[in-house]
């Protein structure tokens, strides 16, 4: 157990707004070892970002942990929903790369200062040494003229450079767990690949554990060995990335994969999951996906649907008809679906 650097168990987050409480993340559990790369995939508003922010104790106003526990390097930092020292992990323990570097960098502060600041506050490094560290960080991130660029303001950099600077800001304190919140979504495809490779090389070089959140299956496949699929604040399927994408065992994963464009397919039509996942429907009982599910049966409408081991030893699905999903998926792959 203690081999895990970060161990999250049954994390539940609720948002309170005008007296109404909505559960946005329900019973989420995962654990990562140093050097692991876990992807969390799901559509917008499914609770991916909330999960990451909860781990840093920087949830937005109105949102709070209601239950669950978090262990960091064997130390309990959240017990039964009560923050027990998350603040101490910020910077050195857990770092987060934000989705939109443009808004996550302070507009009136020089890039170099933003990168070195965490070091100065955290590792108690002096002004001169932290300045040099910032220049080194920028150089390692592929900035062509780090001495000059560390003096620039965020608006003077390109989008890709800003995101790399953001990564620099997060990684300068050498976090043992690196969380990434869709860091490539705002970038064009070529820049996206560069940033992904950068994150991957940082993971390999430093042995940090990576938790990478995205709605982009291709991005996840690129750098994560394990993947968890999230729907309406719950994990619905988890397993090794290649296996899970090849043979999904939850109808939602099946739907997501069908929504990815494939230019080699004989029939290049895109599949859309019917219904709306973003519509907050916490009142739905049973499996959260059943209103949109092609395989839904009466048994799906009530009860709890936790992840259970299915098929291979390291595959988990929350679907009671997971065996039938494989058939559904094979039929579509052969072009005989509907």
């Amino acid at each position: 157990m203690s081999e895990y650097v970060l161990d999250v168990r049954n994390l539940t987050i609720a948002i309170e707004r005008r007296g109404r409480t909505t559960t946005v993340v329900r019973d989420v559990s995962f654990a990562v070892r140093p050097g692991d790369a876990l992807g969390i995939v799901g559509e917008s508003g499914c609770g991916k970002s909330m999960t990451l922010r909860a781990l840093l104790g920087i949830l937005p106003r109105g949102a709070r942990l209601t239950s669950g526990s978090v262990w960091f390097e064997g130390r309990c930092v959240v017990r039964d929903g009560v923050d027990n020292g998350l603040a101490a992990l910020r910077g050195g323990g857990i770092g987060l790369v934000f989705q939109d570097a443009t808004s996550a960098l302070n507009p009136v502060m020089r890039i170099g200062n933003q990168i070195s600041e965490g070091l100065r506050r955290h590792a108690d490094v002096g002004r001169r040494a932290s300045h040099l560290a910032a220049v080194d960080t920028l150089r390692s991130l592929g900035f062509p003229a780090p001495e000059r660029q560390q003096r620039q303001f965020p608006h003077e950099l390109s989008g890709g450079m800003r995101q790399r600077a953001m990564i620099g800001m997060t990684t300068s304190c050498k976090p043992r767990v690196l969380l990434c919140d869709e860091p490539t979504t705002a970038l064009d495809v070529t820049t996206q690949l560069r940033v992904l490779r950068l994150i991957d090389s940082i993971r390999k070089a430093t042995g940090t554990a990576l938790v990478f959140v995205s709605h982009d299956l291709g991005v996840i496949a690129e750098i994560c060995s394990q993947v968890a699929v999230m729907y309406q604040g719950q994990f619905v399927e988890r397993g090794p990335t290649d296996e899970l994408f090849a043979t999904p065992m939850h109808p939602y994963t099946h739907g997501l994969l069908g929504a990815v464009p494939d230019i080699d397919a004989p029939d290049p039509r895109l599949f859309a999951i019917p219904g709306d996942g973003a519509a907050a429907n916490a009142d739905i009982s049973g499996c959260p996906f059943h209103p949109r599910c092609p395989l839904a049966v009466e048994a799906c409408r009530s009860g709890e649907f936790p992840l259970v081991t299915v098929g291979g030893a390291d595959r988990e699905s929350a679907c009671i008809r997971s065996a039938d999903v494989t058939g559904l998926h094979r039929r579509r792959d052969e072009g005989t679906d509907d």
Binding site: R53, L56, I58, P60, R61, A87, R90, G91, G92, G95, L96, F98, D100, S103, A104, L105, N106, P107, V108, M109, E117, G118, R121, H122, M166, M169, T170, S172, C173
Partner: protein, 286 residues
């Protein structure tokens, strides 16, 4: 050919970084004017031909002459010398009052917006309390209670003045606090005073600075008004409001006594509003 004309590409002059950052003319003009006024205030003893408080019974109410450039008042004092020394008095009080209001208001606004809860409630109710009174009514009442003179009008102006800064800054802080870069800074382990001073303050500081420029004009007018009402700086200290008040008795015969200090007030007001406009323009260009 017409086809050619239609596809004619107009060459736009590409703006360089240097051009984009040009200083607005209004700011330059305002700063020059203010520099002159400050120089006058500092070097008044060197420029003034007479002691501003020295009376001369043999030269009462004289017109403009080579000896007395702007004439003399009803006590034979040199108007030009008094005008120069009054610049010093008025600028000192107004700048001190605005600087102190800015400092107190910005600090409390920062605290209220960032801390929230009970601290926010206490500070903002205090702001509401002060704002509930009309500006001059409160100033005059305060001066009545604590007495007239340099120190007490300064105090009265600060007591009334800080609330606007607190309200502006508190609103800005509430907005900035929800920004991603504040969450990102917290993510790297920054918190407390460091977060407030290095991340929040630089992002809220522009608004109160712009406001201060127009506030200076209000404050100068308030000082002049108090002087005019006899509640401000006490004679024989030269002060514009006092000079206008004294001179107004002789407006029909010796118009200059009230007019020259009025012009001085207008020029000072102009200097600060030019700076305020120019600064706002500079910031808007970003």
């Amino acid at each position: 050919m017409s086809q050619h004309a239609a596809t004619d590409v107009r060459l736009h002059k590409v703006k360089t970084a240097g051009e984009r950052r040009h200083t607005p003319a209004t700011l330059v003009a305002g700063l020059i004017l203010l520099t002159i006024l400050v120089a006058i205030a500092i070097f008044a003893p060197l420029i003034a031909p007479y002691n501003p408080e020295a009376q001369n019974a043999t030269a009462l109410l004289q017109g403009i002459s080579a000896h007395h450039w702007l004439g003399t008042d009803e006590l034979g004092r040199d108007v030009f010398s008094r005008l120069l020394y009054a610049t010093r008095v008025d600028l000192e009080i107004s700048v001190a009052a605005v600087a102190a209001s800015w400092l107190i208001g910005t600090s409390l606004g920062l605290l209220a917006g960032y801390a929230g809860g009970i601290i926010d409630a206490i500070i903002m109710r205090l702001v509401d309390f002060v704002m509930a009174f009309p500006f001059y009514v409160l100033i005059i009442a305060l001066v009545f209670v604590i007495g007239s003179g340099f120190g007490s009008i300064l105090l009265a102006l600060i007591v009334v003045g800080w609330v606007s800064y607190a309200r502006i800054v508190r609103g800005e802080v509430r907005v900035v606090a929800t920004r991603e870069y504040i969450a990102a800074a917290r993510m790297t382990g920054i918190r407390g005073r460091w977060l407030l001073l290095r991340h929040v303050l630089p992002n809220v500081v522009v608004q109160p600075v712009v406001y201060a420029m127009s506030d200076v004009i209000n404050v100068i007018l308030a000082i002049v008004t108090l002087g005019f009402l006899g509640l401000g700086v006490q004679p024989p200290t030269p002060e514009w409001g006092l000079m206008i008040s004294d001179g107004s008795d002789f407006l029909a015969t010796h118009w200059g006594l009230a007019t020259f200090p009025t012009i001085a007030v207008v020029i000072t007001g102009l200097a600060f509003s030019l700076i305020g406009d120019g600064f706002a323009e500079l910031v808007a260009e970003g």
